[in-house]
Amino acid sequence: MNQLDLFPFIIRMDLISVVYVESVNSNLICCVCQTPFVDPVVIESCGHTFCKNCITQALSTKSTCPVDRSHIPNVNELRPAAKIIVNMVNELLVYCPNKNDGCPYQGQRQLLITHLKEECLFTKLACCNEECKEIIFKKDLPKHMENCKARMVKCENCEAKVQLSILEGHKSTCPVKNIECPFCYTTHIQSVHTLHLEECPEKPVTCHHAEFGCSWEGLQRDLSDHIDSCSYESLKGFFNMYKQRNEALEQENQRLKTTIHELNNTVNLLENQVSAMSDWLSNFTDSKGTLSNSEGQPSSSILSDDDHMKNEIENLNFNLMDLDAIMTENMRMQEEIQSVKNVCYGLRMQMHYLLMERRGGEPSVGTAGPTNSVVRTGLNGHIGIGRTVPPSANNSKSSPDSSSELNTRPLRSLGPESPRQEKL
């Protein structure tokens, strides 16, 4: 099993789970795992045989022999089982663990590892390409390697090994890639190609003086011959001068165009401002100078302010009209109160006169004084509430009293007065 661990491609292998071709003699079966011994060992003191793994595990739980419960002080009591036992279990016929995947192999258990490692086509392997790692049957591996998306391929230009998935990208950047010249049909590697394109003698060119009117067209290698005979060549100096001046003029023209554009922008801006100002001014005159404090604000806001103010003024007008009505009502009421007061006063005077007449013999000044004063304060209290007549001399005399007393006094004074009236 340790050998198997060293073999990285094998996904899973466990001798305990191996399937045996024939039923196995019960003497070769470990009583702990109930399968034929794997790596059998014997307990020296009692002679019972177990798989090495099974007995090690059992003794770590409890130090007695699983069969007879005899005490086993330590694992040093274990000895490898007799050779004959080892051979008998090693030669047991087993099926390949990949039987379910299709491997028909059956053979001695001891040969199983070699079979799995070298022969079995149904062993599962992981593709050795880093990016792939797909798990495949060994038999399918060659086919997979041909088609694996992550396999390495050789660049046909630079001979470097490149992964298939990035080959296309590599090809366009490969520095050693051969490119064919479209004019002379020779091939050059990419780095030389650009340089060659400039110099290729087969490249079609026009005369240097084409811009001034030379109509010659031909191959690069004929160009120097043409230049020698070109009539424009002798006028080269003039043309150059002319060209320079032209360029200078064009530059100036460009500069002027830019300036005009800027000026246009400024004019537009100013126009906008002027129209805004005139709008605002027209609003200003409409609202008849009431918006002096909102000066300088955009006309639209002034407009709305103006509307707002108008509304407010209208509201105030309505309120004023209401107030006028209330005032008129108030005046009317005051007049009414005054007339009622006058009637009251007349009645009181009449009553006073009658009282005086009834009492006859009593001194008129003594009785009339207090009664009169009481009545007058009561009257004054009433008047005070109405606030139409300024407080009388009597009221100012009784000012040290609280106002509540002032209001209640007429009631109190009337109390004793009425029984007196009844008595009389």
């Binding site: 789970s17 702990v32 109930q34 399968t35 739980t61 409890k62 699983p66 069969v67």
Partner: protein, 156 residues
């Protein structure tokens, strides 16, 4: 849950294919470590004619630690308490990985044939057994009839 050890698979297969007379053990479908067990009361014992239900569970450490077994059917027995717990050495300190489900159930069946009032779990039952064995046996028989009687299909 980890994959079931090969030993448990083998034991289960054998329990079903090569059953012990009077013992019937079936694993639960959703938990193959949990078994429903029926043990028929042994002949010539006070439990004759009864079918006793038990539950058996194989812990993670099995076979290094013993299975856990408990009676579900009420039973009047000096080594089985009213919760169904069994006083049996191989289920405790005398467990050995060489033992199996089959051997454990056979031992329990044997315990029904031979109650041992000297190593009691249910003290009152054991005392009854010691003081008046015929009476205790009669009571065990009565309990068997009451609680463990094989369910006969109702007559038409």
């Amino acid at each position: 849950m980890a994959t079931l050890p090969k030993r448990i698979i083998k034991e289960t297969e054998r329990l079903i294919a090569d059953a012990v007379p009077g013992i019937n053990a079936r694993p639960h479908e959703e938990n193959l470590r949990y078994f429903d067990v029926d043990i028929t009361g042994p002949e010539q014992s006070p439990f004759e004619g009864g079918v006793f239900k038990l539950e058996l569970f194989l812990p993670e450490e099995y076979p290094m630690s013993p299975p856990r077994v408990r009676f579900l059917t009420k039973i009047y027995h000096p080594n089985i308490d009213k919760l169904g717990r069994i006083c049996l050495d191989i289920l405790k300190d005398k467990w050995s990985p060489a033992l199996q489900i089959r051997t454990v159930l056979l031992s329990i069946q044997a315990l029904l044939s031979a109650p041992n009032p000297d190593d009691p779990l249910a003290n009152d039952v054991a005392q009854h057994w010691k003081d008046n064995e015929p009476e205790a046996i009669a009571k065990a028989r009565e309990w068997t009839q009451t609680y463990a009687e094989r369910i006969v299909p109702p007559q038409e």
